[in-house]
């Protein structure tokens, strides 16, 4: 054992047993604090810089989405889902479309599946980029963040070509897409695939094997696989703890079984592992996008379900049938089967589930969002108790807690 290791051990032993100044102070971390990246309040009991206990308050931006959804026709619920995890809105949109398609029993053409996969994986890259570059910021490396946010801008430019929006995308429709990918989209996407890896590797080489960064993040906010499962962790946070649960593989949706990709898995469930798992996932997502683009099937960009998918506008003005369908869809008069479904997709933060109960009415009878953030954020006090205050900040940013998804 080297001197440095010995010294580290001594420090760790001191920090976990000795009181620092014997005086316990109460510290409000949040609700609005630059380091929390959102509206989260934690009332911490601290002894010096060591955290003895934490108590969370959530619900600051609760917007009653589940209640709102009970009054909106199915196609009007998509904009609500945008505002769950707003770092990866397209995944939320697609998840909702697929839930309704499962309820009505609609089959999508292969082309729609592949288009969806491209958009969803772009969203995953954007989501992970935000999280990882912000971990950099919280450890004191602001530069990587500025470069990675330029790359995220490019992804938003690509979104703009397919749906016209950037952050709250509302992309696609129940039954496919509202338009096909245009030429500009393909050009921008190909340019992104070509240029992004180089810049991303530069970002990676700045942090991944950086001694200061590693010392700072290894062992910060760890959780064991057993506890993570008990807390129903999902996504990169669960995989960092060593459990290879990924909805894309376990319950493949949107033709994910056609693609060749790996699920990166960590070991210790600490901040460093969460960072690395996200880094690797970005690479895998790029791989999936490339495959989907290369093997893009020909065909229609929407399913043939006239009672749910809006007809082209020209036909609405000239054909009786199209006008009737258009009217019925807009007014929410489409017959929806009774039943209940649970559908989940792998969101930026893990299993994003939709539990939908339909009584045959124009709106859902009950809609519940299984929001991964809400479920795993409750483990936060357990993860930071006994650690230093600065590690608590890192733990929160590496868990990627998004206020919109937390509070719904």
């Amino acid at each position: 054992m080297s001197d440095l290791d010995l010294q580290n051990k001594k420090v760790a032993a001191f920090a976990s047993t000795e009181t620092i100044d014997g005086e316990i102070a109460t510290l409000n971390l949040g609700p609005t604090h630059p380091a929390t990246h959102g509206i989260f309040q934690n009332v911490l009991k601290v002894d010096g810089e060591r955290i003895l206990s934490a108590e969370q308050t959530v619900g600051y931006i609760h917007r009653a989405f589940e209640k709102l959804a009970e009054r909106r026709p199915y196609n009007q619920i998509t904009p609500i889902t945008d505002r769950l995890n707003y770092c990866s809105s397209p995944i939320n949109n697609m998840g909702w479309h697929m839930t309704v398609e499962k309820l009505i029993g609609a089959e999508m053409p292969k082309r729609v599946d592949y288009m969806r996969v491209i958009v969803m994986e772009l969203a995953r890259i954007a989501d992970h980029l935000v999280c990882n570059s912000v971990i950099g910021v919280d450890t004191g490396a602001l530069t990587g963040f500025t470069y990675m946010f330029q790359e995220r801008e490019k992804i938003y430019d690509i979104y703009e070509e397919i749906c016209g929006a950037r952050l709250t995308t509302n992309v696609g429709r129940i039954g496919g897409f509202d338009r096909d990918f245009n030429k500009e989209f393909i050009t921008k996407l190909r340019a992104f695939i070509k240029e992004f890896p180089k810049k991303f590797d530069e970002f990676g080489s700045m942090l991944e094997r950086n001694r200061i960064f590693m010392d700072r993040t290894i062992g910060a906010g760890p959780i064991s696989a057993e506890r993570a499962l008990s807390y129903s962790f999902a996504g990169p946070n669960l995989r960092a703890a060593g459990v290879d649960y990924d909805v894309r593989v376990m319950k493949p949706y949107s033709s994910y079984q056609d693609f060749d990709f790996e699920i990166p898995v960590g070991n210790d469930g600490d901040t460093y592992d969460r960072f690395i798992v996200r880094q690797r996932e970005i690479k895998e997502s790029l791989k999936i996008i490339e495959q989907a683009l290369e093997n893009m099937p020909q065909g229609a960009y929407h399913a043939d379900i006239p009672s749910f998918y809006l007809p082209p506008k020209e036909e609405v003005y000239s054909s009786m049938e199209a006008l009737i369908y258009h009217f019925k869809i807009i007014m929410g008069e489409t017959p929806i089967p009774q039943g209940e479904v649970y559908h989940s997709v792998e969101g930026g933060n893990g299993e994003l589930g939709y539990y939908l109960v339909s009584d045959g009415g124009r709106t859902p009878y009950r809609l519940h969002f299984r929001r991964p953030c809400f479920i795993y954020y409750q483990a936060y006090p357990e993860m930071i108790t006994g650690s230093m205050l600065s590690d608590a900040i890192l733990t929160m940013s590496s868990m990627n807690v998004i206020a919109g998804e937390l509070d719904a």
Binding site: G59, A64, R227, Y231, S232, Y342, Y355, Q378, D407
Partner: protein, 163 residues
């Protein structure tokens, strides 16, 4: 139904005679369970490898007499990749149900959310308080009797919209 799922299904129905099993049109396994059995069933499933509590939520059906409330669990066996949906019907006169927080740490906030929005009381929960709504709220907003918009509003007429 896979071999594993049918084996588990048989032993649930054997150990808990009041449980009924329905395989719905979407291929999901639904179990209707009495509230006295729910903790036992969840514990039994956990020991059989259902170690992942995917979701826990509630629903309100004011027209169904004596079963106005329903608590819905989704529980997943990650090794066999089998997911079950467990349902417990509750009467609005007695909305108590045993907690599963002793089996799943993650059930804590899910149960608090269900309490917050539906008023279902989870007996044995360590801290059953409101979570997303303000503490001094005196009703449970996801119940069907609370309309989304103020019913006395006159400036907005949507009589002709929808059914």
């Amino acid at each position: 139904m896979s071999d594993f799922a049918s084996n588990i299904n048989e032993s649930i129905l054997q150990n808990f005679p009041n449980v009924t099993h329905v395989l719905d049109n979407y291929g999901d396994h639904n179990y209707f369970i009495d509230k006295v059995d729910i903790h036992g069933v969840v514990e039994f499933l956990k020991n059989e490898g259902f170690i992942y509590l995917t979701d826990l939520t509630g629903s309100h059906y004011p027209d169904k007499e004596n079963t106005e409330f329903q608590v819905v669990y989704h529980i997943h066996n990650l090794v066999q990749n089998v997911r079950f949906r467990l349902k417990v019907d509750l009467s609005q006169n007695d909305t108590h149900i045993p907690t599963v927080t002793d089996l799943f740490a993650g059930a804590n906030w899910m149960e608090r959310e269900t309490f917050d929005f539906f008023g279902i009381i989870f007996d044995g929960h360590p801290n059953l308080t409101r979570i997303l709504n303000v503490e001094d709220m005196d009703y449970h907003p996801m119940k069907k009797e609370y309309a989304l918009e103020d019913e006395t509003r006159t400036d907005k007429d949507d009589t002709f919209f929808g059914r």
